[in-house]
């Protein structure tokens, strides 16, 4: 090793750095195109502040569950039970709050624990006994749907105390008094956009310093400029109505946490390694079954969060609550670029994927398209999105 000749690193071009993030830019562009399309097709109704607020509320629980589903799918598994878990958690919350008059805080804690326990119960079979997750969670889907009906005794239970429904129907408090505009919400949006810039800039500088590859400055500014501008614009739109909904805060915090966990922590790396190559992960000393188990526990907890948000929004728990959610959640993850064979998928992609589904739902409803065609169109979009991925991969 004495005559080591250093290989010359080839200079990264704008093209290569663009390619690496192409998937996310492409998704974001698709979302924008779809939004523009519906904005025009609905005569501007889509971006009405009221509708925008509704869109966020309607999609919040899908986004929250998609974060957990991403982890499960990246691990190389699937969870079909989340819709039923939403139902069962909703009915537990309703029974405790409405019939037993327990306080909002204790019920939340109990429900999150119950969600974790459900996830653990399913993860046990998958991680320890290596049963196919498809089957385990299909069983879970049936079991927890049955449990939902049993707990609620087939009845809708409600209404909830206002302190609880504020979880879904509340907005962040207004500190200033300005007619027609929620200044606090707008400011919050601006602050988050600024924070986003700072974080992105610092990470770019750090990478550059250590000799890593960074996108050229112009591209970097353009990309982050668009994202920040959109963020502020949406917050402005929301501010002209009732401001930022509480749910959006919860959702954003969770998105932030999961982005960090998946990208910057050892745990996140383990998840990608386990899904990317199980054998290699094992031979690298990673406790693969523990990672898988954790992914399911985490999914259970997030499904519980979603369940609480969902019943709070409806203000009642129904025996069929959450039915079919698993399909929306899984579709969001795959549209967001995750691979069915595991190891691939990003939080940002999944969030965009969830909103693509959400905007489609919302836009088509406003246009008065029947549920029959809506389903067909959504199915086609899922198929097309995954086809684009597979096609790109096959081309190498």
């Amino acid at each position: 090793m004495s005559e080591v000749i250093l290989p010359l690193p080839t200079k990264p071009t704008a093209l290569t750095s663009f390619k690496r993030g192409a998937r996310e830019y492409g998704l974001l562009a698709s979302l924008i195109v779809i939004m523009v399309f519906f904005q025009v097709a609905t005569g501007g109704a889509l971006m009405q502040p009221l509708n925008l607020t509704n869109l966020l509320l309607q999609n919040s629980y899908i986004v929250v569950m998609a974060l957990g589903m991403l982890m499960v799918i990246v691990c190389g598994h699937i969870d079909l039970s989340v819709g039923s878990v939403v139902g069962v958690i909703g009915s537990i919350a309703a029974v405790l709050m409405v019939q037993y008059h327990m306080d909002f805080f204790s019920v939340t804690v109990i429900c999150l624990l119950a969600g974790g326990l459900i996830g653990a119960a399913q993860g046990y079979w998958v991680a320890v006994w290596r049963m196919p997750s498809f089957i385990v969670t299909l069983a879970g889907m049936l079991i927890f749907r049955g449990a939902t009906i049993a707990i609620s005794q087939g009845q809708s239970i409600g209404p909830f105390p206002p302190a609880f429904t504020a979880l879904s129907s509340g907005f962040i408090p207004e500190l200033f008094d300005f007619p027609g505009l929620r200044i606090t919400s707008l400011l919050l949006g601006a602050v988050v956009a600024a924070l986003f810039w700072v974080v992105e800039y610092r990470s770019r500088r750090r990478t550059a310093k250590s000799g890593g590859t960074v996108a050229p400055a112009a591209l970097f500014a353009l990309k982050n400029g668009i994202v920040a501008a959109l963020l502020v614009y949406f917050c402005y739109l929301l501010s002209t109505y009732r401001g930022i909904p509480t749910v959006m805060v919860i959702m954003s915090v969770l998105i932030g946490i999961y982005t960090f966990v998946m990208n910057r922590t050892v745990l996140g790396r383990w998840v990608y390694a386990v899904g990317g190559n199980l054998k290699a992960a094992k031979l690298s000393g990673i406790n693969t079954s523990r990672v898988t188990f954790f992914a399911f526990v985490n999914m259970g907890v997030l499904a519980a969060v979603a369940g609480l948000i969902f019943v709070a929004r409806l203000n009642s728990a129904t025996p069929r609550g959450g039915t079919g959610f698993e399909l929306d959640v899984i579709a969001a993850v795959f549209i967001g670029g995750a691979s069915a064979s595991g190891g691939v998928g990003k939080v940002v992609g999944v969030v965009i994927g969830a909103f693509i589904m959400g905007v489609l739902n919302n836009g088509m409803s406003i246009m008065g398209i029947g549920i029959d065609y809506q389903q067909m169109i959504k199915g086609a979009v899922l198929l097309a999105a995954v086809f684009v991925d597979v096609y790109q991969k096959s081309k190498g």
Binding site: V4, P7, R20, T265, V266, G276, N277
Partner: protein, 511 residues
């Protein structure tokens, strides 16, 4: 010699730039048993794939004359139609189907798609009788022993009216009794006029059945022995198989060997596929500081299984024996513990078990030692990139940058990423399993250089390789493994390819 049934003339075959067969000729007389010998990678399997049509006509050079006429097989079906049947080392039976169903798989005894079970079972019984296998034809293949399954394969060939039966290392996974039965069956089939080709490493078996031997080396026919005339000269076969000169393809190293670093004693490992049977039996070995120890052996000897069982019980069941590091008995029951104790195992299955292919060089490099680039579970991206860049330049990994996904790298560069990953775990003992398989000569040289560097730092290296010249060129000591046991140990000064081959053929367990 009687009539020639098969004549393969000047067969040449390349895979991209790699020449697998340069000039192989094979002449088989009708009704004889013809043995093909050669080292791993000599080109035996490639030749058989050409003969059976797996590599279609046009993808190779040369001519195949079978039964008096030139043949241009496009696929397996073409060759089978003429009665050429190949039985691979890995049996191609469907375990959860019955013997009858397997025998007639693809040629079901049926009228208009409806199977005539009575007739099928009757014919199956007939075929089983011919191979001397006494099991009901309704038995599930999964419930048969490996030797019996081999018989079913042969019966399946008989069902297709086989004229030329090719057996690729048929006895490799059989015990002595089953091997004996199989060899006797071959002789019986010969009496009935069926020609056989047997590929085997076991000279004593070849001696028992073969009428002629063709020796292949480096893609060429190097020797043809007519045993009926000349008898079996084992030394001549071995010499022909390995007879190749060592040249300076190995960087020079002055050994500086210290005390024993790692040792294993009484190491036995159960076979997970065959409960109750041991895959590894009572093995004892050690590696010293600054020493490169080689483990030679044929494919399937159990070298990988041994290494993986030591490395956190990654292979096997019911593992017994003691492992010591610097004299202390250690617990290597999980991969994490093994890594923390200073063991590292670079797998032979680079793509399948060594790398996360879709991930970057950086992430692959840090994978086995994330603790060193994180604090309180949070990764330090800076440190991680720095580490990857360091190993990239030290190992001369050719890539655009460290963010490049390893999928796009050449085999040699991928192997270097695997090495980088394990060097970063700072091991005391580095186990390399086929570290240069499938990579070019230049990259090989660089990897030998890394090995030298590693031992000069006072670490120990265990090198598993099927390429004997490589072991002879890089090791200080060589163990020879066969059928799950160590059958030879040579200091490098005493080692030679002939001696290693002899140890394998003799198969005498060392103490």
């Amino acid at each position: 010699m009687n009539n020639t049934i098969l004549d393969m003339r000047d067969i040449q075959k390349s895979f991209g730039p790699v020449k697998a067969l340069t000039r192989v000729s094979l002449k088989v007389g009708e009704g004889e048993i013809h043995a093909i010998c050669g080292e791993n990678g000599a080109g035996k399997s490639t030749l058989m794939k050409i003969l059976s049509g797996v590599y279609p006509h046009g993808s190779y050079g040369g001519e195949i004359i079978f039964d008096g006429a030139p043949r241009t097989f496009q696929n397996l079906r073409d060759s089978e139609a003429l009665g050429i049947c190949i039985i691979h080392q890995e049996l191609a039976l469907v375990p959860m189907l019955s013997v009858t169903e397997n025998l007639f798989l693809g040629n079901e005894i049926a009228t208009r798609g409806v199977i005539d079970w009575d007739k099928a079972h009757r014919q199956a019984r007939e075929l089983l009788k011919r191979v001397g296998l006494e099991v009901p034809p309704q038995t599930l293949v999964a419930n048969l022993g490996i030797g019996q399954q081999q018989m079913v394969e042969i019966a399946k060939a008989l069902a297709k009216n086989v004229r030329l039966l090719i057996l690729d290392e048929p006895t490799a996974s059989l015990n002595e009794k089953d091997s004996d039965t199989l060899l006797r069956l071959m002789l019986e089939l010969k009496v009935r006029g069926i020609t056989s080709i047997i590929i085997s490493h076991k000279l004593n078996e070849i001696g028992r059945v073969a009428d002629e031997i063709t020796v292949i080396r480096d893609g060429s026919t190097v020797d043809v022995i007519d045993c009926r005339v000349e008898g079996i000269d084992e030394a001549r076969v071995i010499r022909s198989m390995v007879g190749r000169e060592l040249n300076d393809r190995y960087p020079v190293r002055v050994p500086n060997i210290g005390e024993v670093l790692f040792e294993v004693e009484g190491w036995s490992v159960g076979d997970p596929d065959h409960p109750g049977r041991d895959r590894i039996s009572d093995i004892k070995f050690n590696v010293r500081r600054g020493e490169v120890v080689g483990i030679a052996g044929l494919m399937g000897a159990g070298r990988t299984e041994l290494a993986m069982s030591v490395f956190g019980r990654s292979y096997g069941t019911n593992i017994r024996g003691t492992a010591r590091i610097e004299g202390q008995v250690v617990n290597v029951s999980t991969v994490r513990k093994a890594i923390d104790l200073g063991l590292a195992y670079a797998t032979e299955d680079r793509k399948g078990a060594g790398l996360v292919l879709g991930d970057s060089i950086t992430h692959n490099t840090s994978m086995a030692n994330l603790a060193a680039v994180s604090s309180r579970w949070v990764l330090n991206g800076l440190a991680e990139t720095a580490v990857a860049m360091d190993y990239r330049s030290r190992l001369r990994i050719r890539s655009a940058d460290v963010e490049q996904s390893v999928e796009k790298l050449s085999g040699g560069n991928q192997q270097k990423v695997v090495l980088g990953k394990w060097l970063f775990s700072d091991p005391r003992v580095l186990i390399l399993d086929e570290p240069t398989r499938g990579i070019d000569v230049g990259a090989k040289y660089e990897i030998y250089g890394v090995v030298n560097q590693v031992v000069s730092e006072g670490r120990g290296v265990i090198m598993i390789s099927s390429e004997m010249p490589e072991l002879l060129g890089t090791c200080d000591r060589i163990y020879v493994m066969n059928e799950g046991r160590f059958v030879g140990e040579f200091p490098i000064a005493e080692a030679s390819q002939e001696k290693i081959m002899q140890a394998i053929m003799k198969n005498e367990v060392i103490q």
